[in-house]
């Protein structure tokens, strides 16, 4: 067998033979430096925008007169602008940067076409600007995560096609035939976004379904955007970072396939659970509840894999910045998914339906899980892409703790405050304003959490600009700083 392989590779020489591992990595990095940095720049910019909007939204919730004289910034516009800037601005830019880089690196060969990636990145960010501008102008749609006006959707879609094609080409150009879990999730996320966004746009806006079925489609889309696009990108980074940054292979890697397929299967309907009791066919919500419970299967596999891998090198978690973020992301993922599953229970829904509970869980899932995983990955990518060390690690330390605490505060106050609010609203006929006043403490806590999160994000932006602008030291100019990372554990099936 070996002989045949050797013969084969002498006829078709591949890149593996040339130079050292690290030299090849540097070729890959330099082939996509501009484009990936563009995505990261976009993500940092939108993160700052989103944290500012988040702050405004949370202040407005307990002090309604704050900035009330600006019609374009009323709560009803700032709120969707915040969530859309957070997801389409920050998480998509950051997630795609991580995924594009991972695909290229795991492929082991520079794929070229970086102009496609760079142009699509620009188009995507332009589309997000158009969308947000549309919301402020008053053209928003009343559906979660579809608030961008219909005229922004084609731009968003076209830009994503460009980004997706680049990722597919990079996957296709890989030198290693076998694929790693990160690659499956990256591809799945790309396919799913194209599919669910088409379904939502066509069935709600182009050929609108009748009445309440538009809400059903929107609930399906909203759940899938989180479960089938953002989450897979985050899984891709976690599967990549644990072996690479911690030097620890994924414990129980063989079960990844089960986790992957069951996650896609159950996530694809879990979002419908939010429709219970409403003016919708009851069985649709029941499908959503059942699917939410199905998430226990992938959740247990993920928990086993990630926690065992992390705990087996526990002492190293706190020394490695990227891994610390991954640890936070994993814990946030477990908590958020458990809350999603419990939140689908009928008895719990009677308390939490229409309350801030769902916002809290969504926030934890998006920011605590996906956002923290991407931030950890960006801190892993940057020194490699630029061949510079992080100029001020203590600033990044500060960022981790402040962001972590901020996310924790926001989540706890929204989840617990939402529970308290919903229990009174759905379970009594007490005066609605009196109920609201009783949850004021939680609303204030949310603001404190948002302030902390914003401070952390500011530190992140400073770190990012600092490493971009700082001149290389002599050592950095003359030598390669990056130590070779361990190989990933591949399946050979």
């Amino acid at each position: 067998m070996n002989l045949i392989c050797n013969l084969f590779s002498s006829i078709f020489p591949s890149l593996e033979g040339d130079g050292s591992q690290r030299e090849r990595e540097q070729t890959i990095d330099s082939s996509m430096r501009f484009a990936v940095l563009g995505l990261i720049k976009g993500s940092v910019f939108w993160l700052l925008v989103a944290s500012l909007l988040g702050l405004i939204v949370s202040v407005k919730l307990h002090s309604p007169t704050y900035l009330a004289e600006y019609g374009w910034l009323t709560y009803g516009k700032a709120y969707p602008a915040f969530w859309n800037a957070l997801v389409y601005g920050w998480l998509f830019n950051a997630g795609l940067a991580c995924v594009a880089w991972i695909i290229a690196r795991l492929g082991g060969r520079p794929s070229g076409n970086s102009a496609v990636l760079a142009i699509s990145t620009g188009a995507w960010n332009l589309a997000v600007i158009i969308g947000l501008f549309g919301i402020f102008k008053g053209d928003q749609n009343p559906y979660r995560m579809l608030e961008f006006p219909t005229y922004a959707a084609p731009f968003l879609f076209a830009a994503f096609i460009g980004l997706g094609i680049w990722i597919l080409l990079a996957f296709k150009a890989r030198a290693y035939r076998s694929s790693f879990a990160s690659q499956w999730y990256a591809l799945a996320g790309v396919f799913c976004f194209v599919w669910i966004y088409t379904v939502a746009q066509v069935m709600i806006f182009c050929m609108p379904a009748q009445g309440v079925f538009q809400s059903v489609i929107a609930a399906w889309f909203g759940g899938n955007l989180l479960g089938l696009v953002v989450a897979p990108f985050a899984f891709a980074t976690i599967y990549y970072l644990i072996p690479k940054a911690l030097g620890q292979h994924i414990v129980g890697y063989r079960q990844s396939g089960i986790a992957f397929w069951s996650w896609i299967l159950f996530s694809s309907a879990a979002g419908l659970a939010s429709l219970v009791n409403g003016p919708f066919p009851a069985w649709i919500a029941s499908v959503g509840v059942v699917a939410s419970f199905g998430l226990f299967l992938p959740l247990s596999v993920f928990t086993m894999q990630f926690l065992s891998s992390l705990f087996s090198s526990f002492s190293k978690i706190w020394d490695t910045l990227s891994v610390r973020y991954v640890f936070y992301a994993v814990v946030a993922f477990i908590v958020a998914t458990v809350l999603t599953i419990l939140g689908a229970l009928r008895e719990v829904q009677e308390m939490t339906q229409f309350s801030q509970y769902n916002d809290g869980v969504r926030y934890l899932f998006l920011v605590g899980f996906a956002g923290m995983a991407f931030t950890g990955m960006v801190y892993y990518i940057l020194p490699r892409l630029l061949n510079k060390e992080l100029p001020n690690p203590s600033l990044a330390d500060l960022q981790f703790w402040v962001q972590g605490l901020g996310i924790f505060l926001v989540t706890v106050s929204l989840v617990y405050g939402g529970w308290a609010h919903g229990a009174l609203l759905n379970g009594s006929d007490a005066d609605t304003i009196a109920i609201l006043k009783s949850t004021d403490t939680y609303l204030f806590l949310t603001t404190i959490g948002s302030v902390m999160f914003a401070i952390g994000n500011f530190a992140y932006a400073v770190s990012f600009v600092w490493i971009l602008l700082s001149p290389r030291t002599e050592k950095e100019q003359s030598a390669d700083l990056i130590e070779p990372a361990p190989e990933l554990e591949y399946t050979h099936s």
Binding site: P142, R177, F191, G211
Partner: protein
């Protein structure tokens, strides 16, 4: 799982299955409802004229982010609160696109606000400054939908009759804009106060 097409097809099958079962099937089965009756007896009642423009203002201002438009009778206390007499049904929404069923009740449900709050004056004051009509509310004031102008000659008969403590300085008046008029018309038109036979009500549920 080493090939892109395998993952593509697997994911496509699963997501398409979810799409076909939870979206296409129910829409084929229940997405072709037609109104019952004609004229004044039509179910659901039509929202027309100025109220339709108000519907657009409702959408522009993002009211849906704090208010639902669905009465729930099978659980909860919506009926006790007087937010409706029966469960909202898909038939209630067949004329609407987009629908404002909503996600969050920072404020009360509005499916029947037109039968609950029948006075236009109340709504004008409420939009101008919620503190006037609902002290302690965290609804933002929509003063930007009103015009503050100098009284020239006689005061406008459309000016808001503001109570003590909220009045503007002497010689000025607050007049609603066209958008405010439309939004109030929409509020007054929001009602599901007609009967739908199969809709669950507390009485029907009690017999179960």
């Amino acid at each position: 799982m080493n090939r892109g097409p395998f993952i593509f097809i697997g994911v496509l099958i699963i997501v398409s299955l979810s799409w076909a079962v939870t979206l296409v099937k129910p829409i084929q089965e229940g997405g072709n409802l037609s109104p019952i009756g004609k004229g004044a007896d039509r179910v659901p009642t039509l929202v027309e004229g100025l109220a339709l423009r108000g519907r657009e203002v409702y959408q522009e201002q993002g009211c849906v982010n704090c208010h639902t438009q669905q009465t729930i009778a099978v659980t909860g206390t919506d009926i006790e609160r007087g937010w409706g007499d029966r469960q909202s049904m898909p038939l209630d929404y067949i004329d609407q696109s987009p629908v404002f069923t909503g996600y969050n009740r920072v404020g009360p449900d509005l499916a029947n606000v037109g039968t609950r709050r029948t006075e236009a004056g109340w709504h004008y004051l409420h939009f101008y400054n919620p503190e006037i009509t609902s002290p302690g509310s965290n609804m933002p004031p929509f003063a930007f939908l009103f015009e503050k102008r100098k009284i020239v000659g006689e005061a406008s008969n459309r000016a808001l009759d503001l109570p003590e403590g909220f009045r503007v300085e002497e010689g000025y008046e607050i007049v609603p804009s066209a958008d405010a008029d439309a939004l109030v018309a929409y509020m007054l038109a929001l009602s599901q106060a007609y009967e739908i036979e199969e809709a669950p009500t507390p009485e029907k549920l009690a017999y179960k």
